[in-house]
């Protein structure tokens, strides 16, 4: 693909390529990364496409440095991202925490593969979903999205940039090897049809600017380096001036806001896809590639007369707790297929709060579920 225009049209792209194109369409102009299967093609695409768009690709020495450079670039005024897989995601946790603490917009893509450790580098997994939520130390909240197709990788990468700018938080795109390496039709809309949320800049004189005075939605406007605001920011607990203050009181105020700006705005953030939940006895709740596989099982179940609904999580974090709690009142059970030994199923169970059963359909990774396994779980759930 060539530069200049926003490349509207229909393409046959892998998920990784679609992700890179989505980032560029969102205005991303900086990528720092380290090669890792199965996310390498994102870096390769960005290394070619970013210079065409006036952006910068830097190949860092490791994922620690990649994530640090992404934060630096964001404070330098660019929309910035990185892409990795499990082992690199683990290393990025350190500076994802700094991103949360400094309130730095950026996007991190995790093309999940089967773990733990080096695991199955070329084969799929969904084992990083809880790491996405809790992987960095300390209490915090974060946003994570789960695309189910190359098209959605394009679309949700744009959404990820928008959410990261709106809420000043790193946004995680939690995809999988299966989607990253899947080739499908991807439609790139014309530029004017793509909604872009710009950075919220301060609108007061530089001398009056304090980096962490939030607006009504708890998110502070963000100055960038070199514009004369002369601000200081630190990973230490800080007050509205950005100055380190070592007290439980300031810690309480800061951390509460960092969490609340996500959780109290969660209804504006959360997106799910629902199918025939009204009147269902069983609801299959899944995300990413597992949700796609599950639709086959759902169709088969319906064909034998079972009343099965489908709830696909597009936003995984913040978790759509209220919607699941509501659904739980009217159904027998949730069936949760995921490529791990139970992560999101625990959240579903918590949300269901005993009103409906939660049945995990685990898979240890390296392949997607056999739809028959999910179908069997649905049949068991009806009994």
């Amino acid at each position: 693909m060539t530069s200049e225009n926003q490349l509207p049209g229909e393409y046959f792209l892998s998920g990784d390529e679609a992700c890179a194109e989505g980032a560029i369409a969102a205005g991303c102009r900086f990528f720092a990364g380290y090669p890792i299967t199965p996310a390498t093609e994102i870096a390769e695409t960005m290394s070619e496409r970013l210079p065409e768009e006036g952006g910068t690709y830097v190949q860092m020495e490791d994922e620690l440095g990649s994530m640090a450079a992404v934060l630096g670039a964001s404070w330098g005024g660019l929309k910035a991202m990185t892409a990795t897989s499990g082992p690199g995601f683990s290393l990025m946790m350190e500076n994802i925490g700094l991103g949360v603490m400094l309130e730095t917009p950026c996007v991190v893509v995790d093309m999940q593969r089967a773990g733990p450790s080096t695991g199955l580098p070329t084969m799929t997994g969904q084992g990083d979903m809880m790491q996405a939520r809790w992987g960095s130390h300390g209490p915090y909240s974060i946003i994570a999205l789960s695309p189910a197709s190359p098209q959605e990788l394009f679309d949700l990468t744009i959404v990820a940039f928008n959410l990261s700018e709106k809420y000043r938080v790193p946004v995680l795109v939690m995809s999988e090897e299966s989607i990253g390496h899947m080739y499908e039709k991807v439609t790139i809309p014309p530029k004017e049809k793509i909604e872009i949320i710009p950075r919220r800049k301060p609108n007061i004189p530089a001398k009056e600017y304090l980096p962490y005075v939030p607006d009504d939605d708890m998110v502070p406007p963000m100055a960038i380096a070199g514009e004369g605001y002369r601000f200081h920011v630190t990973g230490l607990t800080h007050d509205e001036r950005g100055y380190p203050i070592m007290t439980a009181e300031v810690q309480g105020k800061l951390v509460k806001r960092l969490v609340d700006k996500i959780e109290k705005n969660s209804s504006a953030i959360i997106k799910v896809e629902e199918d025939s939940i009204e009147g269902a006895d069983i609801v299959v709740c899944s995300y990413g590639i597992s949700a796609r596989v599950a639709t086959i099982a759902v169709q088969k179940a319906r064909a034998i007369g079972l009343r099965v609904g489908m709830l696909r999580l597009i936003t995984v974090w913040p978790f759509p707790l209220e919607r699941i709690r509501e659904i739980a009142k009217n159904i027998k059970a949730f069936v949760v297929p995921e490529i791990n030994y139970g992560q999101i199923s625990l959240e579903v169970e918590r949300a269901a709060a005993g009103k409906a059963k939660t049945i995990l359909v685990p898979h240890m990774g390296g392949a997607v579920h056999d739809p028959e396994t999910i179908l069997e779980a649905i049949k068991q759930a009806v009994i």
Binding site: L64, A68, G72, G76, L98, A225, R230
Partner: protein, 276 residues
């Protein structure tokens, strides 16, 4: 002296560049960090840089607190990651002058990989590495710069490991500007900082600095004054010294001076307009 006189004297020529509302700083009596930060700010002042576009990035540790005291856009980031953070900042906006000010533990231990790669890439930034031979913030543990036999709270009987010779390391990695001074060389240090600031590419200055509270106290130099005296009588100025020979040993000589200064292509690459 009357209190009012102190207040009048209290206005310092560098106040414009300091967050005076954050003073006094946390550094111990006898620590060299005030001296080095002072020299850094005087050099920045003299350089004619646009202060609005001069950025300081620090990592973690005693030295890492420097960014919090300067009235510039300043970033106090994670342990060891000041250099990659600064790399992202500089690539995002090449008009910025980025100064990284951090300690030996931050840059040569936990950030060691970033140090050699930033030097190899020749990222256009100025790096001031304050070496006090130990981890001061956490109470005086040994590190990769602690001289052999040097005592610390984690090497009570003396360090058995060979320390990094940082100028040799950074020079070998490709830094086109490498120098070392001690806090006893205030004028030289300031002049070298000024040169480093004007240098295009990765300019690196190591400054040997007293930590009387920990390293000094445990190694028979219990005050800042004793450490300074040691630097004064044991430093040898040797510009362009063979860097294999600038190892620091316990009680030995400290070779100081400008060791490397040449030009090579740097990043981010300058924009070439009209073929010039």
């Amino acid at each position: 002296m009357k209190i009012t006189e102190i207040a009048r004297i209290g206005e310092h020529p560098l106040d414009e560049m300091l967050r005076t509302d954050r003073l006094p700083h946390i550094w111990c009596p006898g620590c060299g960090l005030g001296t080095i930060l002072g020299a850094t700010l005087r050099a920045i002042n003299k350089s004619g840089l646009d202060l609005d576009k001069t950025i300081m990035v620090s990592g973690i540790g005693c030295t890492g607190r420097a960014a919090g005291y300067v009235k510039l856009d300043s970033f106090h980031v994670t342990h060891g990651r000041a250099l990659p953070f600064a790399t992202g900042l500089k690539f995002a906006n090449p008009d910025l002058k980025v100064v990284v000010f951090s300690g030996d533990g931050d840059m040569a231990a936990i950030g060691g990989n970033h140090l050699i790669h930033a030097a190899r890439r020749n990222v256009d930034m100025t790096v001031i590495c304050v070496n006090n031979f130990n981890y001061g913030m956490t109470g005086g543990q040994m590190g990769p710069t602690t001289p052999q036999s040097g005592k610390s709270t984690t090497s009570r009987s003396g360090n058995v490991e060979k320390p990094f010779n940082i100028p040799y390391l950074v020079g070998a990695a490709g830094a086109p500007f490498v120098a070392r001074w001690t806090t006893a060389h205030i004028r030289q240090m300031e002049r070298t900082f000024l040169e480093a600031i004007h240098k295009k590419g990765f300019s690196f200055v190591e400054v040997i600095s007293p930590c009387p509270t920990y390293y000094g106290r445990m190694n028979e130099q219990a005050t800042g004054l004793e450490q300074m005296r040691y630097y004064r009588y044991n430093s040898i100025v040797k510009h362009y010294a063979n860097l294999e020979d600038v190892d620091i040993t316990l009680g030995g000589q400290i070779v100081v001076g400008k060791f490397i200064d040449y030009n090579r292509p740097y990043l981010p690459a300058p924009v070439i307009e009209n073929g010039k």
